[in-house]
Each structure stands twice: as C-alpha cells, then as structure tokens.
Amino acid sequence: MRRIAILLAGLLVAGLAHADAGTAVKASHAWIRVLPGNLPAGAYVVLHNDGAKPLALTGADTAAYGEAMLHESSATGGVSRMRAIDALPIPAHGTRTLAPGGYHLMLMDAKHPVHPGAKIRITLKFDDGSTLLVDFLARPASALSDKD
C-alpha cells in the first residue's frame, strides 16, 4: 500500500515537473538573421517534440519586436513566395526545422536596434496551450546558420 502511495506520489511529482517544463518541445540552434535598418528579420530554430502526441507551433511573442509571424517561403516555378501559416505541426517524438528558404518566424518592427551577438528572447506558443521561452542568437546578415 505504502509502495503504491510512493509510486503515486512519484507520478504526481513527475507530472508536476512536466507541467513546470510547460511543453514537450525542446529548441536548439535558435538564431536570427539581422538586417540593416529596421528591416524585417527571419528567425530560425530546430524544434523537437519529446512527447507522444503531435503538437503544432502556432505563434511567437517577443518584447524585442512589434510583431512575430509564422511564415513559409517557397520557390515553385522559379518564383520565390512567402505566405503566413497558422500552425506548423511537429510530429510526436519528431523534429521540425525552421531554416532559411523554408519555415521561419518573420520579426518586424524592432523596438531597439538588434546587433549581431545579442540574445533575443522569444516565447514560442503551441496548440496545446504550452509555451517555450527560447533565446535566439542575433547573427549578421551574411550568416547561413547559428554558427560559422
């Protein structure tokens, strides 16, 4: 009986710990391509869903920019286009990459000039109501990834 109680308590703690973490998603390689002036910037990140249920990235918030939009670039028939998307699915135990030329966050209207080397804190929002705070590394315009 006591063993069951301990087990239950253990599960409860695990459950709480999970709730604390907020989301089953882990982020890595988060970076922003900073453009001169107040031009919109693209933000990129690798998202891994540790959970057994599929999730979707539905938006982002940051104090550093007036607006953060989820976008997809595509090049079909030799024409480059961008479109806003409402939700970006991340499969259960799977990975979704936001990378140049594909999915990205478009950050508009920087509140203060953002310089390469700075860390920009962005809250990622998911369709299960969970959120994830991620520090994005500001990188120069000519960067191709989060590292050289």
Binding site: R33, G37, L39, G42, M82, R83, P100, A141, S142, L144
Partner: protein, 203 residues
C-alpha cells in the same frame, strides 16, 4: 578494314574544325558550363537605373565585369538574404577574382527601396554587390526583358505587402552577354565553377 578509319578521322577533324569555328564566333558555346546555359536565349544586359549611391548607371558601367543579376527586395526577410549570403560565400571562394565580378541586386520594390536603404542592405552581404533601383517602369522593363515574374501581394495589416519574385540569378559575361542561369538551390561549387570559366575565358 582500313577503309572506314579514314572517313572517321576526317569527320572528327571536320567536327573539331566546326567547334573551333563556332568557338571563334561565340566562344561561350564551347565553355563546359555546369549550370543551365542561357546564351542566345536571353538578351544582353541592358538597363538604366540608380545605384545605391544615388548615381544613374547603365549596363555599360559593368562591362568588363562578370555580372550576377538578381531581383529581390529588402523587406524580404528570408529568401533574398539567403541568396545574397550564398553569393557571398561564392565570392569568397573566387578569392581575388571576385573583384572582377559584380552582384547586381535589383529591387522590385522601388517604393520602399531607396538608394540609401539599398546601400546599407547590400553592404551587409558582400562588398561586390550593387543595389539598383529606379522608376517602376524601368524595373518592370528589366524584369520583362529577362522574363522574371514579380507581383505585389497585400499581406493585410499596416498596408504591408509581400512581393513574390523570380528566384533566378542571371549570369552575364564580361561583354554583357547572358551566359548561365543559377537558382538559390544551385550547388555553390557549380556556380563557382562557371564563374571561373567566364573569368578565365578572357576577352
């Protein structure tokens, strides 16, 4: 069976002579490009626009340089910077020869892309890049000349709009003749290869 060998040799020599003759007229036909060849299919480089220093320039100002022509706009946060960042790597791989190449970034969004905005923008990528802007008519004429589609699509809020644009990079030789077509997904090594051919072919 000695007989067929002679005509074969003769044919080979004839073919070789033809190649050399053609090469003499239009030597780029003979260059072993890796990218899609557009010589003969696209007109010579020709425009009259304003550069990012506010100076009126024409295609003649870039004769003697190998030119990479790319249509884009500065409010494009993803694909345009990616393309220019890739071209920066290509230029680095060319080493000293990069000085004989110019990347012409033509804005298809002249309302927002003033020479000043373009100046800051192109400098952030590669020093061999020139930003070009001009009247809507002059830019449209240039995009039409190279069959580079573009359109403005309102994105709703704040009167902002997105521009869809041709993703191609047009490569011209030192005489302004269209040579090859590159795209954002072309392997950098292939573009470097073809640029070297054009740079080394000499004129």
């Amino acid at each position: 069976m000695k007989h067929p060998r002679v005509p074969r040799l003769a044919l080979f020599l004839l073919a070789l002579a033809c190649c050399l003759l053609l090469a003499g007229c239009q030597h780029h036909e003979a260059l072993p490009f890796k990218l899609t060849r557009i010589s003969g299919h696209m007109p010579d480089l020709q425009f009259r626009l304003t550069d990012d220093n506010g100076k009126t320039v024409t295609a003649d100002d870039y004769r003697g340089k190998v030119v990479l022509l790319y249509f884009g706009y500065t409010h494009c946060p993803d694909v345009c910077p990616l393309t220019l960042a890739h071209l920066h790597v290509v230029m680095q791989q060319l080493g000293k020869q990069a000085d004989e190449v110019r990347i012409l970034f033509v804005s298809v969004d002249p309302t927002r892309d003033t020479p000043q905005v373009l100046h800051e923008y192109v400098r952030a990528f590669d020093k061999h890049t020139v930003g070009l802007t001009g009247s809507a008519g002059a830019i449209e004429a240039l995009t039409k000349r190279y069959r580079a589609a573009f359109s403005r699509e309102p994105s709703g809020k704040d009167g902002n709009y997105e521009v869809s644009h041709s993703s191609a990079i047009y490569v011209f030789d030192r005489d302004g003749h269209a040579s090859v077509l590159s795209t954002p997904i072309t392997p950098q090594a292939d573009l470097v290869h073809d640029l070297k051919l054009l740079l080394d072919s000499g004129d």
